[in-house]
């Protein structure tokens, strides 16, 4: 009975659909052409990103001798971890990897501790100068890293934290904070204020209402923002290069050794930088639009 009902309207629309397919109106044809162009543009844009990613990955997993083969086979014939492991065992790489991860974690910890409360305040409270405060935070995003890095290097030398994990982390925190504040505020806005108020009427303290009601609802978004902050630090190269000497982060090490480096080293390094970044973006792909959608407004 239910099945018969579902089939009937479909059967009724079929002749009309067939007619449209045979003789499309000019307007419809124009719309189809527009849609086709849109798909072509989307495919081209995807290729723009995917082709280099593919080449880097394939080359990083080709044995060192086969890297210089030309013309290159589109599908790799030999796969081995030799090139990547050669890079991983090059001097300083493992230490730089650890440095990079620790710096990113410290950056994440400081910028979340300082930035998330500011974001919460922006989302929940009306206060004098709120829009000016927002604008000021946004404008620090436009401040060139190069300007910050060189005076900071001189200052850090006198403070004794030059070439330390803490120094680079503080620099990266300065870069990440505006992002953290604005993004966490756009996440806290999505948690209904009524839920928090309901928790208060049922006997929660302000902190209790935040921890038991707001935090669980905001957690996925906060985690996504955290991964983004982590990648910001992971990718940053100029300040990390200027602020370190014997303890570089991975990007700083790669950029300083790149000029004399062999092709296998370069591709393996590129893959080492790329893979964690891509994995992170893939994890938070559902939140990316939400993260950036409201920041520019």
């Amino acid at each position: 009975m239910a099945r018969a009902e579902r089939v009937e309207p479909a059967a009724g629309t079929e002749p009309a659909a067939a007619r449209v397919r045979a003789h499309p109106s000019p307007a419809l044809r124009r719309r189809r052409r527009g849609r086709a162009l849109l798909y072509v543009a989307a495919v081209l844009l995807s290729l723009w990103v995917l082709v280099p990613t593919y080449l880097i990955t394939v080359t990083a997993f080709t044995p060192r001798r086969a890297i210089f083969d030309f013309p290159k086979p589109v599908v790799p014939r030999q796969v081995s971890a030799e090139t990547v492991s050669f890079f991983a065992h090059s001097s300083g790489v493992l230490a730089a990897l650890v440095t990079s991860v620790v710096v990113a974690l410290i950056t994440l910890a400081i910028s979340t501790t300082l930035g998330a409360p500011a974001g919460y305040a922006l989302a929940r409270y009306a206060f004098r100068g709120k829009s000016a405060y927002r604008l000021a935070i946004l404008s620090t995003r436009a401040f060139p890293i190069v300007i910050l890095a060189i005076p900071l290097a001189v200052t850090f030398i006198t403070w004794g934290i030059y070439d330390t994990l803490l120094g680079v982390s503080l620099m990266h925190t300065a870069l990440a904070l505006p992002f953290t504040v604005l993004v966490t505020s756009s996440i806290f806005v999505t948690v209904p204020r009524e839920l928090e108020e309901a928790a208060r009427t049922l006997g929660c303290t302000p902190l209790g209402a935040f921890v038991r009601v707001v935090l669980p609802l905001a957690l996925p978004g906060l985690a996504a923002a955290g991964i983004f902050t982590w990648e910001l630090s992971w990718n940053e190269v100029f300040a990390a290069t200027i602020l370190t000497l014997d303890h570089p982060t991975l990007p700083a090490l790669v950029i300083s050794t790149l000029q004399g480096a062999s092709l296998p080293f370069r591709f393996a390094a590129a893959w080492f930088m790329l893979a964690p970044a891509l994995a992170g973006i893939f994890l938070i792909r559902r939140y990316l639009l939400g993260l950036w959608g409201r920041v520019g407004q």
């Binding site: 995003r141 060139p144 190069v146 300007i147 060189i150 005076p151 100029f238 200027i242 520019g296």
Partner: protein
């Protein structure tokens, strides 16, 4: 009808992108070695190779100056109707 409404967003995007473009560093170093340099590379070279943070800071200031000038140019050229200050 669409472009005028997008004006505030386009303005912000232009300002941010120009400022970021002036700071390009790693790409130039990786692709051109040391032979072709941009301002940020010069700052890096003076700081690292010549060990002179003062000249490096001068280059950095030049980048800041260019960023400021470009921002002012964008703000005067792309004028809004006054309501976009809130959206920026």
């Amino acid at each position: 009808m669409v472009l005028p409404l997008l004006k505030p967003s386009i303005r912000v995007a232009l300002i941010l992108r120009t400022i970021l473009a002036l700071q390009v560093f790693a790409t130039v170093l990786a692709l051109a070695g040391g032979s072709t340099t941009v301002l940020a590379n010069e700052a890096y070279r003076w700081y690292y190779r010549q060990r002179d943070p003062r000249v490096a800071a001068a280059y950095a200031s030049l980048i800041l100056l260019l960023s400021l000038v470009s921002t002012i140019v964008y703000l005067t050229l792309i004028r809004g109707d006054g309501d976009e200050e809130r959206q920026a």
